[in-house]
């Protein structure tokens, strides 16, 4: 404000950026001096740095010297009396809506103070194992105990880890792309499947890591696998293993996992077997085993003073298509079925997209048809042209009519999700025309704009129409109504949509409205997710662990695409979906009926 009038001359200060190079130098020590109880090591690097300054006659003023010395005193690391990361991240967490829960803070304290940075974080799904691991990493970094860390995770979670570390912990990390990255990134996120393969494996073994974090660590249950061998041979000072299911089938899995972390904690395998294994699924001496496990494993469960989520109320809303719309839908679907599966793999994608778009909105499907016609020009399939004409002749949109009525009924802040940008634009056009005030949110917006729109929505907005890519990393706990205008074919994406609203910090029950067009693929998806596997009632994160344990040979989306496009008969589709649903239910039951809870403590 008044500062314009001030003449400011800033003295030339030393840049922290240019000095980073010096900091990264390996500290060189003189040979240790042995005292009766400990060694004393004098640094040569620090002294050399000072001598260089004297030689260069780089004399700083005495005032700066005194101030810098005071700053040295302020930055000292003390014993782990209190967690530094809580205060350090307080402001950032406020900005991103992160609330560290008491069970998480307790876990971090226990790992650092008692388990000395070596632990299996085995919280039940949805209790925030990643947050705990991030806090532990940050705490060690703030104390100068970790400079180099490696996070090994399934490939699909690399990006998620990157974002979590950046947003929630202000930790700048890299995602491993080439073999050079191993040595040049201080904090690196990598796929465990890449890491175990040569030449990566041999490079990793040579690097001394201060901290190793392994997500989905149940993949290390078998000591004969390349994954296990790799982790066993790695040099690591601190190690965190994250898994909700430390044992799935056999007590040996537990022994293998713990031996990676702290070999000998359970003795040799022979003594472990004799002491603790009645048969492979029944533990002997559970109290003693529990005691040993509590020195390396922490498991928080729901309802033990951990996290209480509000309820979800799901409401499928059936939309009846008009006869014109039905005709267009049927024609497009049968065209795709006739053409789509016959096309080779590179060409199938536009047809799959078209099939999914036609479930979302005819406007989105129309735009894709137009692009396809333009691409092929005069050689375009006449059926495509005909379909385009049919689609553009439509003057009604039953789904949007229902949406308008629904929004009037809710009369509160609502987030409407759609998969496609074209659908988003159309929805906004229709709602604005009907007198609603809307805000649009999509992946093309810059971070600043996203923040601004979120702020507007929180303060005065009524309806936010968002695409999925736009919704990533968005926290909208202040709103408790979600409308799924269309249904993604991947239930994880549906879970992520709901997760924007139904997350830690939500104080009200969440209402989810699914718009389902009768007699379309959407109805099948809804049948599978809602009626068959009851996905909406699952606890946060449960679905993810089920899908991982299912070990599908392709993506869930890919599986559904095959079912829908390969089968003409509705009954056949229903049968296939039932089979898939059964597999999911069975997997869920297996996870829930874990006989191991008694030994986790």
């Amino acid at each position: 404000m008044i500062l314009d009038s001030l003449e400011i001359t800033v003295p030339i200060l030393r840049s922290t950026q240019t000095l980073f190079a010096d900091d990264n130098l390996e500290e060189e020590f003189l040979p240790p001096i042995e005292l009766p109880h400990f060694n004393v090591e004098f640094s040569l690097t620090g002294f050399k740095k000072i001598i260089n300054e004297i030689r260069k006659r780089n004399f700083d003023s005495w005032e700066w010297f005194v101030l810098a010395k005071k700053a040295d005193c302020h930055s000292l690391t003390q014993n782990f009396g209190r967690l530094l990361c809580l205060e350090h991240l307080e402001e950032r967490w406020k900005r991103f809506g992160v609330i560290p829960y008491p069970h998480q803070v307790k876990t971090v304290e226990k790992v650092i103070k008692e388990l000395k940075g070596q632990a299996i974080l085995a919280d039940e799904v949805g209790l925030g194992k990643t947050i705990e691991a991030g806090m532990i990493l940050k705490e060690y970094m703030l104390r100068g105990l970790v400079n180099r860390a490696l996070i090994l995770t399934p490939a699909s979670l690399c990006w998620q880890w990157y974002q979590e570390l950046r947003e929630k912990f202000n930790i700048v990390s890299g995602i491993q792309r080439s073999e050079w990255d191993w040595e040049y990134s201080d904090i690196l996120i990598a796929s465990i499947d890449t890491a175990k393969r040569p030449p990566h494996r041999d490079i990793i073994k040579k690097i001394p890591y201060d901290m190793l974090i392994i997500d989905e660590a149940h993949k290390l249950k078998n000591s004969k696998t390349a994954n296990w061998q790799l982790i066993n041979q790695m040099q690591k000072k601190y190690c965190l293993m994250l898994t909700a299911t430390p044992i799935q089938n056999d007590l040996k899995e537990l022994f293998n996992l713990i031996s990676l972390l702290k070999p000998g904690q359970l003795g040799s395998y022979r003594s472990f077997k004799a002491k603790f294994v009645a048969d492979k699924r029944t533990p002997k001496n559970p109290d003693q085993l529990r005691e040993l496990l509590s020195q390396v494993l922490i498991r928080n469960r729901r309802g033990e003073g951990t996290v209480e989520f509000t309820e979800r109320h799901v409401q499928p809303i059936i939309v009846e298509l008009s006869s014109e719309e039905r005709q267009v839908y049927n024609q497009i679907s049968s065209f795709i079925k006739s053409i789509g599966w016959k096309a080779n793999h590179t060409n199938i994608l536009p047809y799959v997209t078209l099939q999914r778009e036609v479930c979302s909105s005819f406007y989105a499907a129309g735009l894709t048809l137009q692009k396809m016609c333009q691409k092929y020009g005069e050689n375009a399939n006449p059926k495509l042209v005909e379909l385009l004409q049919l689609t553009s002749s439509l003057r009604t949109n039953s789904k949007c009519d229902v949406l308008e009525k629904l929004l009037r009924r809710i009369n509160d802040k609502v987030v409407v999700f759609t998969e496609y940008k074209a659908s988003q634009e159309y929805i906004r056009y229709r709602l604005e025309r009907a007198g609603f005030s809307t805000l649009g949110f999509d992946g093309s917006l810059s971070r600043g704009k996203k923040e601004w729109i979120k702020h507007l929505f929180q303060k005065s907005g009524q309806i936010l129409v968002s695409t999925e890519s736009g919704g990533e990393g968005l926290n909208l706990q202040f709103c408790n109504h979600v409308v799924n205008y269309d249904l993604p074919w991947n239930p994880m994406r549906l879970e992520q949509r709901i997760g924007r609203v139904h997350r830690l910090g939500q104080t009200k029950d969440v209402h989810i409205y699914n718009l389902i067009t009768r007699g379309t693929i959407e109805e099948h998806i809804m049948y599978l997710l809602h009626q068959k596997i009851n996905m909406f009632e699952m606890v946060l994160g449960e679905l993810e662990s089920i899908l991982i344990s299912l070990k599908l040979d392709r993506s869930f989306e890919g599986l559904l695409t095959e079912i829908f496009l390969r089968n003409d008969d509705e009954k056949e589709i229903q049968k296939k979906l039932d089979e898939l649903g059964e597999r999911i239910i069975q997997s869920r039951e297996e996870i829930q009926k874990s006989p191991w809870e008694q030994i986790y403590g």
């Binding site: 200060l13 740095k49 003795g267």
Partner: protein
């Protein structure tokens, strides 16, 4: 020095003057260069509002500078990069010469009651001292740090084992009138090493004993695990890892240094006895020590 004083002093040394826009909330315009130093390359300069109180930070949305906060850490990081080496001088007028003279004469008279002493002349010369600030990291299963400063007389090579208040010193070095340094910096560092090692040997070693006990247990655990195994390489690697990670040690890292110039007073004293004698006495006001030159 608390955080408030530290940050305000920082701005003062940068020739920046924060404006208190409301009670307890300050505002300042920081340059892009400084913003980059604090927040990384992407940061831009501009108005920066800060406070030292949590309630005010919440009320006005100003950045909170408090122990452990991100903002205090970023400032500390920046400040600590400055002033690796400095020079300072303890001005002669810090001392009241007449009282030193009286003290000197009294001391001489006490040692030789048969003589009388007269100060014929006096002068002063600055002696160079090397002050090294070191960070001591006590490492075992945990880590604890402390800062120590050590001062070596660069003429005599003695370590000064008492604190001289830093505020008495003035920036810079005297142009002339200085003793020549007789000790190399390397030698000075060796003296410090010797002194600190002796000092550490006298400290309470209970932390190291506890760590060694824990190591013993962990070693036993590893021996048990590898009892049936023939993989000696893996066992050795694990044992080595354990020792590297947890063996108790104190690492000493020099962080910054300064050459201090402290005056020594030189007196020409006449000893009046049966035979008169001229004495050249050097008085070290810091050590409170008389020395025949």
């Amino acid at each position: 020095m608390d955080n408030v004083e530290l940050i305000m002093q920082f701005f003062k040394l940068c020739n920046l003057e924060p404006v208190e826009i409301t009670s307890g909330v300050w505002q300042i315009e920081i340059t892009t260069d400084m913003a980059r130093e604090l927040d990384g390359y992407g940061a831009k300069g501009g108005l920066f509002q800060f406070t030292f109180e949590k309630e005010l930070a919440e009320k006005y949305g100003a950045e909170l500078i408090s122990p452990g906060s991100y903002r205090l850490d970023s400032f500390l990081k920046y400040i600590r990069k400055q002033a690796t080496y400095s020079t300072a001088c303890l001005p002669i007028h810090t001392f009241y010469e007449p009282s030193i003279r009286t003290k000197l004469l009294n001391k001489l008279a006490a040692t030789n009651r048969n003589s009388r002493f007269y100060v014929i002349d006096y002068s002063y010369k600055y002696a160079p001292y090397f002050m090294l600030v070191v960070k001591l990291s006590y490492l075992a299963y945990e880590k604890r740090e402390k800062i120590r400063k050590l001062i070596v007389d660069m003429v005599s090579g003695n370590i000064i084992n008492y604190d001289i208040p830093e505020q008495l010193f003035k920036n810079g070095s005297p142009d002339t009138n200085c003793y020549k340094r007789k000790l190399s910096y390397k030698k000075a560092y060796e003296r410090i090493q010797e002194f600190l090692t002796n000092d550490l040997a006298m400290e309470d070693p209970s932390w190291a004993k506890a760590a060694k006990e824990q190591i013993h247990q962990d070693r036993q655990r590893l021996e048990e695990y590898y009892k049936d195994s023939e993989d000696d390489i893996a066992k050795e690697r694990r044992l080595q890892e354990l020792m590297e990670r947890t063996f108790p040690r104190v690492q000493i890292l020099p962080t910054r240094a300064a050459t201090l110039y402290i005056p020594k007073l030189e007196y020409k004293v006449m000893e009046a006895n049966q035979t008169d004698r001229l004495l050249n006495i050097v008085y070290d006001p810091i050590a409170n020590r008389l020395q025949n030159s």
